[in-house]
Symmetry: C2
Subunit: 257 residues, 2 copies
DNA sequence: CCCAATTTGTTCGTATGTATC
DNA sequence: AGATACATACGAACAAATTGG
């Protein structure tokens, strides 16, 4: 028989605060009713009555949901609290908080990019419109201007190619992860001032890889596209690998609207 | 010259509420000071004085940070608001909110798993201790008991193998993504009741793959481990592909503490 | 066991800001 | 311009939880 204590739970169950309970209840309520982005929740006054709690408590609950990007408030008549689709930017910022403490190395980031970017490239081969391909070529061209660009600007331009490419994927998860990793890599290198000593080779080789990749995408050759991206990743990873492993990072700034 | 309007910002800048401003300021403060998990922030009273705002406003700001998993509050003497490391679970729950609206298909999830799980397997070959290998074998054994298991239980057990395996990775990002995708897949299949018609073949083949994988890991053969996992993923993806593409999902429940 | 101190948690009343009609 | 309907913010008080004496 169990000991004669009153605790029935092995884990003492964190005992949620009232705002936490209300936030969970509202979240569940939204799911149960199947409310979509744009739907207006009851007013604060209504929520006070429904939950039998004071305004402050209700407001704190709404802040909990707001921080997760799930709701948005507007003042004035016709205003209120509205269900809101969690944006990619918001999700990236929240995930960035986790990464801040996980402090991955440059190599850790490239290990994932090397696995995902080639898959992205292969899956897009033959799927892009002429306009989309032209857009990619424009991005490449813009990253190779006269020469008065700073190293950081070139790096940012190169990053942009990967971000724009990911945006064309039909797979929302692949889109999100590839973009997140590219921007994370950029942040990490900038935060440590590593992009200045990644010699121009990286940037130069990146341009030729990107050009060849666009060609493979246009021709509809998945294997070729995958191979080019794999080589691109391997080259970049090799050039970056000189840097030490442990990384201290900054919070991703909240670029969510 | 720019037009003679007063607006200097192209984007009207969402004008942050006071709690949002305070939350951002505290976040920046923590980063600037380099405060680590466990560090105590000033008391609510102190913060009221510092920011010149009312108690309610300060508390709402703290809720914004709490929802992100960045701080934790305790009452009583020695209590207060403490910097808190964002847990994997919390990060997964927050990312789950994004995925809820992105509603990826089963195929979308497998596309990522097929790219990441083999990389995970390869990177762990020859790196696991005897105890870790034994643990994996135990997990496999527990997922193949008499026969009175329900289909759902078998599915959960199979999932557990992938989660436990990911936990051994030194790469925090790979660890997080692989686990997130495995649990997401499980949620999606359960939510749609798809695991009942994924015939026992899947479960049976999974067992043999897992056994062969453990062997490759023990022998220290990355290529072999990668190949086994690739075949495992391809098989599972093929059996799942019969299901339709679009998927409606639930919020990941907050399993964060 | 109780009591006191400390800190977050919660309530209520009131006033202000903002957007719509 | 004014009335209306909302969220936003303030201030004072009280409640609950935790720690230590």
């Amino acid at each position: 028989m169990p000991p004669a204590t009153t605790r029935s739970e092995p884990h003492p169950r964190p005992r949620l605060s009232r705002p936490q309970k209300v936030a969970e209840a509202i979240k569940q309520w939204v799911m149960d009713e199947g409310w979509q982005p744009g739907h207006r929740l009851p007013s604060e006054t209504d929520l006070m009555a429904r939950f039998g709690m004071a305004k402050g408590t209700i407001r704190e609950a709404i802040r909990l949901l707001e921080a997760q990007g799930l709701v948005k408030s507007r003042t004035g008549p016709g205003g209120g609290v509205f269900v809101h689709q969690v944006s990619e930017d918001r999700a990236a910022a929240l995930l960035g908080n986790y990464v801040y403490f996980a402090h991955p190395s440059i190599d850790d980031i490239y290990q994932l990019r090397a696995a995902l970017e080639p898959e992205l490239a292969a899956s897009l081969a033959g799927k892009l419109s002429a306009a989309q391909l032209a857009h990619l070529e424009k991005v490449v061209a813009e990253s190779a201007p006269p020469a008065e660009m700073t190293e950081g600007a070139r790096h940012a331009a190169s990053l942009r190619f990967h971000v724009e490419l990911s945006a064309f994927s039909e797979n929302p998860l692949l889109r999100f992860f590839v973009r997140f990793l590219a921007e994370l890599l950029s942040e990490v290198t900038v935060a440590r001032g590593l992009h200045s000593d990644t010699n121009p080779e990286l940037w130069q080789s990146g341009l030729t890889y990107q050009t060849r990749l666009i060609e493979a995408l246009r021709e509809g050759q998945p294997a070729q596209a995958r191979a080019v991206m794999e080589a691109h990743m391997a080259t970049a990873q090799g050039l970056m690998r000189r840097q030490e492993a442990a990384v201290t990072r900054r919070f991703l700034s909240d670029r969510a609207r």
